[in-house]
Amino acid sequence: MFDKGKVLGGLAIFLCLGTFPLWYIAAQGKAAYPPDPVIYPGSEQCVESTEYMSKYHMQLLQQWRDQAVRQGDRVYIASDNKTYDISLTGTCLKCHPNKAEFCDRCHTYNDVSPNCYNCHNIPPQPAEVLGGTK
């Protein structure tokens, strides 16, 4: 092999960069604890099912925003025909007041930065509820 040092050095750099997530995760040692959002006590039932909410809450919130802000219609009829007041502070945050333990856990894990709080106020946070993993 010609230029053995340079070629093997280059390949070593390539392999290090290519397997970067492996040793980064090993060095950080936090991968074994995926996030677990804390449901505030007494608020187990959301406007839709838990599976639906965990997957589609962002679309629902967008629909709510358009309906409330653009059409002035603040009534949401859920799939089980219950009606809810469309309001982030009045409805969502009433049951999920713990932003750091509820919203942020998955958002930080998946590195998504929703811009709800660009306009909305973050209400005073309740004391941390123990439960779930960080």
């Binding site: 092999m1 010609f2 230029d3 053995k4 070629v7 280059g10 390949l11 390539f14 392999l15 290519g18 970067f20 997530p21 492996l22 980064y24 995760i25 950080q28 936090k30 991968a31 074994a32 995926p34 599976e51 965990s54 997957k55 589609y56 962002m58 679309q59 919130l61 967008q62 925003r65 998955c106 930080t108 894990y109 998946n110 590195d111 998504v112 930065s113 929703p114 811009n115």
Partner: protein
């Protein structure tokens, strides 16, 4: 291969690849194959094939000193030399290589010749390929770097910074990535360049279209998955992290669009070492780019030269000194 077939075959191949993940609807074991086994095989093919080809290249001798230059070589002190166009030392070579890799410098000088009014031959710059290629490669790099958010926990901070920079613009409530737009536009241009221009179409091969269509498939499936046919992004990250920690666990809620994206990506990286995409390491192995133009100062030895027995003048004189001196022929050494 005629022109239609060399586009249609790759198109058919990519279509099959898009349809294959429908098998994940069969159940968890099929999902495991598409989520874990195929990507792992693809990664193995990528790394082993990549290293194999690089080692093979490194074993090839370079017989001649053949840097491609466009300027004055370093010679006498009062003749001004061009350090970048005719690099004479390792620093200049490195600098020229850097500009080539990061900014496609030589492609910037691409020119075309046209007959104006059917008579006059006119040369001009032709930089659309440079612009399209640069936009595509940089977007691809930023997009791959953004994907680190799925493979690192806690998320690698530079990936977040780059994501924030890339999502300066917002579309509705969802984030809109500039690079998603740029890569779609540039890839479309790069594809249609090979379809519209008769000359470029003539020299294009099926493999050229396959690479473009595969990457287009990856990009389109990724953009659609993000904005229209949404998948459970949390399940995707959990899958990625579970694979990196060697405890693969597939969440059955991920969604079909993800499997289509993953299948296309797996094919792309498995195909990488066998394809023209190996230009990525190949640029570093191009003798016309990685050699110094110092042939006047240093003799380049051809490594496959057979050792030649030569008879130097000194040896000749040693052999015939006495008869030469006797005949009155001048000699260098009297003894």
């Amino acid at each position: 291969m005629n022109n239609a077939v060399k586009i249609l075959y790759p198109l058919a191949a990519v279509t099959i690849l898009v349809l294959l993940p429908l098998l994940t609807l069969l159940g968890p074991s099929a999902e495991f194959v598409f989520a874990v086994i195929i990507p792992c095989l693809a990664l193995a093919a990528f790394f082993s094939g990549f290293i194999y080809r690089v080692v093979r290249w490194a074993q090839s001798p370079v017989p001649f000193n053949i840097p491609s230059v466009g300027g004055q070589e370093k010679s006498l002190p009062w003749i001004k030399d061009d350090k970048i166009e005719s690099p004479g030392n390792n620093w200049a070579v490195t600098w020229r290589m850097f500009l080539e890799i990061f900014f496609f410098r030589s492609l910037f000088r691409n020119s075309r010749a046209d007959l104006v009014a059917g008579q006059r031959l006119v040369y001009g710059g032709s930089r659309w390929l440079w612009l399209g290629g640069l936009a595509f490669h940089w977007s691809l790099f930023i997009i791959i770097f953004r994907h680190l958010r799925f493979f690192t926990e806690p998320v690698f901070p530079p990936a977040t910074w780059l994501t924030n920079l890339d999502s300066l613009f917002q579309f509705s409530l969802a984030t809109l990535f500039l690079t998603d737009f740029i890569i779609l536009i540039s890839l479309t241009y790069l594809f249609f360049r090979r379809v519209v221009s008769p000359q470029v179409k003539y020299i294009s091969l099926a493999s050229d279209y396959l690479a473009l269509l595969l990457i287009l498939g990856v990009v389109i499936s990724g953009v659609l998955m993000r904005s229209i046919f949404k998948v459970d992004v949390d399940a995707v990250k959990r899958l990625a992290i579970s694979m990196i920690t060697f405890k693969p666990a597939v969440d059955s809620n991920i969604g079909l669009p993800f499997y289509i994206h993953l299948m296309l990506v797996s094919t792309l990286i498995a195909y990488f070492p066998f394809s023209k995409m190996m230009h990525a390491p190949g640029i570093l192995f191009s003798p016309t780019r990685n050699m110094k133009n110092d042939s006047r100062a240093v003799r380049h030895i051809n490594p496959w030269n057979h050792p030649v027995r030569v008879h130097t003048y000194e040896e000749y004189e040693d052999e015939f000194r006495k008869p030469m001196m006797a005949a009155g022929i001048p000699v260098e050494k009297k003894q």
